[in-house]
């Protein structure tokens, strides 16, 4: 049975907190580019950008975009052919602070691919990572700078993350999952869904 | 059944069904059909239980490519004879496109002798119409006619005798010895680089088309020439509905024309080309469903006189390649009777007496071949085959007895099965199995004295 761990209001609060933390760490909204990793990371990135704009009404042009990592994945030969999503990098990212936004942080491989993809678009001064859920089980030396909720889970469990814009409803839940129900390639829930 | 039966051993065939449906026993002795009737017995005879089997007169193929001399990697006279026997044939006409070409008395006599040595079937050589099949000057038709091979059928098959004057002369000349010119009707200019039937499918696949008119225009020209000079014409492998119409018109006019259709043109259509499997590449090409239906109707109404296989063996490498580079042709001796069974018997167009006519009596008559096609009558040479019409099989490599495997029927389900073939009174196939070459050579050689 699925157990809901975050409802819509919880998610909104978590994103507001992350937005504040980003502003605090960046000392304002200048030179900030927020890039979501498709699909749900893009939605979250957009919400964070809106929240930042709301918190700092004087900030001009908080730049937000999407960064598809399909072409940079290390498991392309092991799964079905993936259909890439669109990459939209708003202007140059040289010398700015880029905040990568993803829904669930798991093995870290998606973020590894994102860092490679980012490097092909330019040279940011700083790259930060924001995720709504960190479920552990990292396979690479990667950690998030801003986390909505830490959700220690077993690999047999499944994290469901729904967002209104994509799924029509909104929550984060956790499934017991059958024994051995772990994603065989250890990918993030988002990528495996 | 004893495997040491020899020519001198009589056979008693029990309970066979004649083409007309009557049940009978047959005794084969001294190379002839000695007795026909019920309740026969014969001391010392090998008894063959033929219950449920149709006895057909030994099949005669007017159009076989045996490839020897010259292309022994594809087929030899021995292996081609074995393929023929397995298919129920007791005689094959060996096409002239060997290397050297069968355009002299020496070559046709060599083919004849190799056929006799093999001993499975009567191998009757066909002579080339023109020297080297080049279409330029007549080969020594008279010398081949008077040679030991007694050639009566002349053909440049593989090539069309397209020069109208040369064709006229050939038709005229063979009258001197009651010969016949068997024409491969293909207008060469209209079929340059042709790969398949010209039509909607060739348009889609981007293949150079082989238009029906290239066949029909040559047949129309040739029947008029035959009428003009009062000679016999035989049309090889008719493949289009239009050709059937032209021949029907010519026959109604009293022109001495005979025509053959191949088993594959009676069964298969051009749709098989879609997968680019070169086993389906053949000349003339597989045509449309309408053409297949017209050929069947033509065979049923007598417009088309006979079925001939155009058995054309090719080595693996000639077919295991891109379509354009592949050779034309299919092997067909082993499968012919089953394919004809499926195409025109199961469809109710022909009965087994018709089959005896189109696959034995008439081809022997067109080719003026004595000792064949005389039917199942007392005193006739013991040339017959026993066929199980109730059998059904998925045709496979194991059903091929020749050297090459370029059969379009592999993995296809076909009705019927040849269980025994008798040639000159001895069994070449018994219990569905080919008898070994050494045994056949021993008995066959003896009958030729």
């Amino acid at each position: 049975m699925a157990r809901t761990v975050l409802n819509q209001a919880d998610i909104a609060r978590a994103l507001t907190r992350i937005s504040h933390e980003i502003l605090e760490s960046n000392r304002g909204a200048e030179n900030l580019v927020i890039l979501g990793i498709p699909t749900r990371g893009v939605v979250l990135a957009r919400r964070i950008a809106e929240t930042i704009q709301r918190i700092e009404p004087t900030a001009t042009n908080v730049r937000v975009g999407s960064l598809d990592v399909t072409m940079y994945r290390d498991d392309l030969g092991h799964t079905r052919t993936r259909t890439p999503s669109r990459t939209l990098v708003p202007g140059s990212i040289d010398g700015v602070t880029v905040v990568l936004v993803d829904d669930v942080l798991y093995s870290g491989r998606t973020i590894r691919a994102a860092l490679d993809a980012l490097g092909d678009h330019g040279r940011p001064t700083i790259v930060r990572l924001a995720v709504l859920v960190d479920r552990g089980h990292r396979e690479l030396p990667i950690r998030a700078d801003f986390v909505g909720k830490n959700l220690p889970s077993s690999t047999a469990e499944r994290i469901n993350l729904h967002l209104l814009e994509v799924d029509g409803d909104e929550f984060v839940s956790i499934d017991g999952g059958p024994p051995g129900g772990e994603h065989p390639d250890g990918v993030d829930t988002e990528a495996a869904s | 059944m004893s495997s040491d039966s020899t020519a001198s051993t009589p056979y008693l065939i029990r309970g066979a069904t004649l083409p007309d449906g009557a049940l009978t026993d047959l005794v084969l002795a001294d190379g002839r059909i000695a007795e026909i009737g019920s309740g026969l017995s014969r001391a010392g005879a090998t008894v063959v239980d033929a219950a449920g089997l149709i006895a057909l007169p030994g099949l005669v193929d007017l159009h076989t490519h045996l490839r020897e001399p010259g292309f022994e990697q594809s087929e030899t006279i021995l292996t081609g004879s074995q393929a023929a026997a397995v298919g129920g044939f007791t005689s094959v006409f060996a096409m002239a496109n060997t290397s050297p070409v069968q355009d002299t008395a020496g070559v046709v006599d060599q083919v004849l002798a190799l056929g006799e040595r093999a001993g499975y079937v009567t191998v009757q050589p066909i002579g080339a119409v023109t020297v080297g099949l080049a279409g330029e000057r007549l080969a020594e038709l008279g010398a081949m006619a008077t040679s030991r091979a007694r050639v009566r059928v002349f053909s440049d098959d593989g090539f069309c005798v397209s020069d109208p004057l040369l064709m006229r002369r050939a038709l005229e000349y063979v009258k001197a010895f009651d010969g016949v010119v068997a024409q491969h009707s293909q207008e060469p200019r209209l079929t340059e680089k042709a790969q398949m039937n010209e039509g909607a499918l060739s348009s889609e696949l981007g293949m150079v088309g082989w238009p029906a008119v290239a066949e029909e225009s040559i047949i129309a020209r040739d029947v008029l020439l035959a009428e003009h000079v009062g000679s016999r014409l035989h049309v090889c492998h008719v493949s289009t509905a239009g050709s059937v119409d032209v021949i029907r018109w010519a026959k109604a006019r009293g022109i001495q024309v005979t025509a053959e259709a191949t088993p594959h043109h009676l069964l298969l259509t051009e749709d098989l080309v879609v997968g680019y499997d070169a086993r389906f590449k053949v000349n003339p090409p597989l045509r449309r469903r309408e053409d297949v239906d017209a050929l069947r109707a033509g065979l049923a109404d007598g417009t088309i006189d006979i079925v001939a296989t155009d058995h054309a063996p090719h080595p693996v490498e000639a077919k295991d390649c891109e379509w354009d580079a592949a050779a034309n042709g299919m092997v067909g001796l082993e499968s012919a009777l089953s394919v004809v069974h499926a195409a025109v018997v199961d469809t109710g167009l022909l009965d087994w007496t018709d089959i005896a006519r189109v696959l034995s009596r008439t081809p022997a008559r067109i080719g003026r071949l004595s000792g064949q096609g005389q039917g199942l009558i007392v005193g006739a040479p013991a040339e017959l085959t026993l066929y199980d019409p109730a059998a059904s099989r998925v045709f496979g490599r194991g059903n091929l007895a020749g050297k090459s495997a370029n059969s379009p029927y592999l993995a296809m389900s076909l009705p019927g099965r040849v269980l025994a073939t008798f040639h000159r009174g001895y069994a070449t196939v018994l219990d569905g199995a080919l008898r070994p070459a050494a045994e056949i050579a021993a008995v066959g050689g003896r009958t030729h004295g």
């Binding site: 940079y72 392309l76 030969g77 052919t81 | 060739s202 981007g206 293949m207």
Partner: protein, 316 residues
Amino acid sequence: MRHLLSTKGLSQGEAIRLLDIAEDMADVADREVKKLPTLRGKTVVNLFFEDSTRTRISFEAAAKRLSADVINFSAKGSSVSKGESLKDTAQTLAAMGADGVVIRHPASGAPHVLAESGWIDAGIINAGDGTHEHPTQALLDAFTIRRRLHRGAARGKGLDGVTVTIVGDILHSRVARSNLWLLTTLGAHVTLIAPPTLLPMDMSGWPAESGFDLDAAIDAGPDVVMMLRIQQERMNAAFFPNSREYSRRWGLDDERFGRLAPTTIVMHPGPMNRGLEISSAAADSAGSTVREQVANGVSVRMAALYLLLSGDREDS
């Protein structure tokens, strides 16, 4: 997608997916680093039994932008040119570990034979087979039309209701065949215009109108006019009397070009015979996509290579 042999077998969904991925690939060309690591470690062989420098370098650029290793194998004029050579060559490439083979061959169906034969277990892309198909050319043409019509909002769209007139040697054109199937699958209406000798004898199965009158076709106001290259050798085979007459009746000359709406897209797969099937003014006009077609060719071929070579091959 295991192979790309023809456009006839492509569903609308597959075609749009490929075109959408090509949009992503086109974006890469605008970046600072114009290369993706996607096919690192994969080997793509350009197996060309016919000369075609343009097509070969387009595939080569596409494969290299995806970080694949590229081997160019020109089999034309070598001692092996017929018969079992295709089999031998395929087995050689298999032994070298080719993951993808881009094949150009004068025989219709040769890529199909290569894909089905079992000689090699690589993804096969048809880069033009005889007078059969040239699927990546049609895909780049469709991509070019879609971009012209929808600009940045092309993703996910087909070509519903777009009228395309293809003019020239339809009989011998693999480009025309591939475009016919693909464009109609995407919702376009195709009209084929040619001398009667250069139309296939039976087009009953083709989802297209056909005719002989280019002027009438121009006056019908098509959204796209695609001119095909006319080969000089057709003249010698009596398909038409001479180039002057061909040009007069079936060429997109200045006068006919002037009658087209300014928004009409003018296409040519190249290389062009300027002054024969297309005038310089038409070829160099704002409506002409000739140069875009070349650039888009790389994006489309990147998409095709990605779809063929990125997934788990057992799975496809």
